[in-house]
Symmetry: C2
Subunit: 351 residues, 2 copies
């Protein structure tokens, strides 16, 4: 994008003004609010040029300009400067993210909640992708005849469990044998390398009748697979209704409708994450307006960062807000929450 300096400044100013006023900005008010050394007529020429490049657009013929998706993109990529949060803001976040929590899930919910409160937008987080973590322990506990609990401890310090049905007449001792065999043979294996076949061969040699054994092994396998399922946490959907951008009920409805299908949102984040991984970019994922392939989010921007539970186990945390947002501020907020989250995660996972 070959823009001379003044044009860059003009675009910057238009984005800033539009973000803060929510009104299309015209050449005159631009002169008033900023100290350009040229006249409004000159800015009009520049604006015509920016419009030609598709960076800004007019809602109607005789109105001011608003940034287009492409304009916001240019702003985010090359114009804005990111500042650190003030110590006060940092403290506020530190305080809200509770350090007394002992489970990863609670910690993530905590961070999501905090992020929604500090940004005033919808926040969301994906649970850690555990497929690269490995099994450290697996125990099967009898609950009552026919029912057992599979408890797994994963390398990332995460504990998962699942209630499963087992044949009624299996006794404690048999279950212990099977449990021991699985644990012995699968400990240290990453979850994504564990298949039904692996589990079945791990259980071989246990002196339990074949069909019964097979059922238990299947259930154990199902429990392991369930452990690496992804969860998504969304918070603060109602905040969108406070934004003038969604004062039209139709838009608000479409947006909340889409967000209510958390599976769809999770799928989209996963997709984005794959792109990020392959592009080698390790900081933020930013999607603006139509770039987001979800219905009803045309007027939104979607920003996520990646947090790490361990080196190989990570998840995402971020916000969905209006396109018309203070990008630099929001990005610093996400960044700070992410860092705090990483710190707490480390506390939880180090022995």
């Amino acid at each position: 994008m070959q823009l001379d300096n003044r044009k860059k400044e003009v675009l910057h100013a238009i984005v800033d003004d539009y973000v803060s006023t929510n009104e299309p900005v015209g050449s005159k008010s631009l002169i008033e609010r900023h100290s350009f050394q040229v006249s409004s007529a000159t800015l009009r020429n520049d604006m015509a040029e920016l419009e030609h490049l598709g960076l800004i657009e007019k809602p109607h013929t005789s109105a001011g300009r608003i940034p287009s998706d492409k304009g916001y993109r240019e702003y985010v990529n090359s114009l804005m400067t990111i500042e650190e949060l003030s110590p006060k803001e940092q403290l506020e976040i530190e305080k809200r993210i509770d350090s007394s929590v002992n489970e990863v899930t609670d910690l993530i919910k905590n961070a999501t909640h905090t992020l929604s409160e500090t940004t005033g937008f919808v926040s969301l987080a994906m649970s850690p992708r555990l497929k690269k973590s490995f099994l450290k322990q697996l125990k099967i506990l009898m609950i009552e005849p026919g029912k057992a609990l599979v408890v797994m401890v994963l390398s990332a310090g995460v504990v998962k469990d699942k209630v499963v049905r087992i044949p009624n007449f299996l006794n404690d001792e048999q279950i212990m044998k099977i449990s021991g065999a699985i644990e012995k043979n699968l400990t240290g294996k990453p979850l994504d390398e564990i298949t039904l076949v692996t589990v079945e061969s791990a259980g071989k040699g246990t002196e339990v009748p074949e069909p019964l054994l097979k059922q238990v092994l299947y259930e154990a396998y199902a429990a392991i697979k369930q452990a690496d399922e992804l969860n998504i946490y969304l918070e603060g959907e109602h905040r969108m209704l406070n934004l003038p951008d969604f004062s039209s009920l139709g838009r608000a409805r479409d947006l909340l409708g889409t967000l209510s299908d958390s599976g769809m949102v999770a799928g989209y984040i996963n997709e984005m994450e794959n792109v990020r991984e392959h592009s080698g970019d390790d900081s933020f994922m930013i999607r603006i307006g139509q770039e987001i392939a979800l219905e009803g989010l045309d007027d939104c921007s979607f920003i996520t960062a990646t947090y790490n539970l361990t080196d190989s186990v990570s998840g995402n945390i971020g916000v969905i807000g209006p396109k018309r947002m203070l990008y630099s501020k929001v990005i610093s907020q996400i960044d700070f929450v992410k860092k705090k989250l990483n710190k707490e995660m480390q506390r939880l996972t180090e022995i």
Copy 2:
């Protein structure tokens, strides 16, 4: 309420018409839509009377009437007749509530989701109140030095667990001893009779140094207390935006704002539940409009039923919809979902 028959019919008709059209209903249209054997002038007199009794009201001087909270209340208490769902509707619900689920929590989420889809409103459920259930098993598993998992099996077939911190240098054997002592002494006790003192005395006699023992016992106690904490599940908040009743953004915002504070909603349900228990009424709790002591729910009705996990362990499931709803239909839907839920719960809890 001493109302002659025709006045009852008039109120009935006004509620029905208003529910289906969402427009204030006048004497003339009342004549048109129903076969009253009198003139519109007569109905006008009746309506003036009903207004005097506070059962209906006018949005403004020259408009038709709409039911007041008191009017809806009268309708619900003595006018409406409840019909069973059609076999088709029943089947639809049966199908949606999945029978392959093995955990109570999943089952409840499932039922909540179904209820929101069938009614088109916000649905919600409270997790079972476990304080009357008793401990069947309690195991403490070492995860790694300094970290353990407390697993509890409760009488209602519910499994709960919590990761806890323990002193670093406790070994497997010591933990097993403590775990065994607690289990031995507390099995069969209802959760609400277990206090820190009970747990501490249960752990006595274990050959583990005093301060270490005390910490573990405290953590075990905390885990037990956490097990009977209540959870609330809310679904379909976005559906409210589809209702003409909430087309004013302000109302929608207040409503969703309140619902987003799930703790507050849970507290309110608990309060309602206490009233129900003491009044001996065992069917539905219905709260209409201003009867609901929650901000922003003035235009809503709140209907819940009680489901049972076992005889002494129960929770609630219901909906929050607009006051202007088809009460008889919604009540049958809740009732049917509740019955189905009870059935599935029984399947899960019977050995």
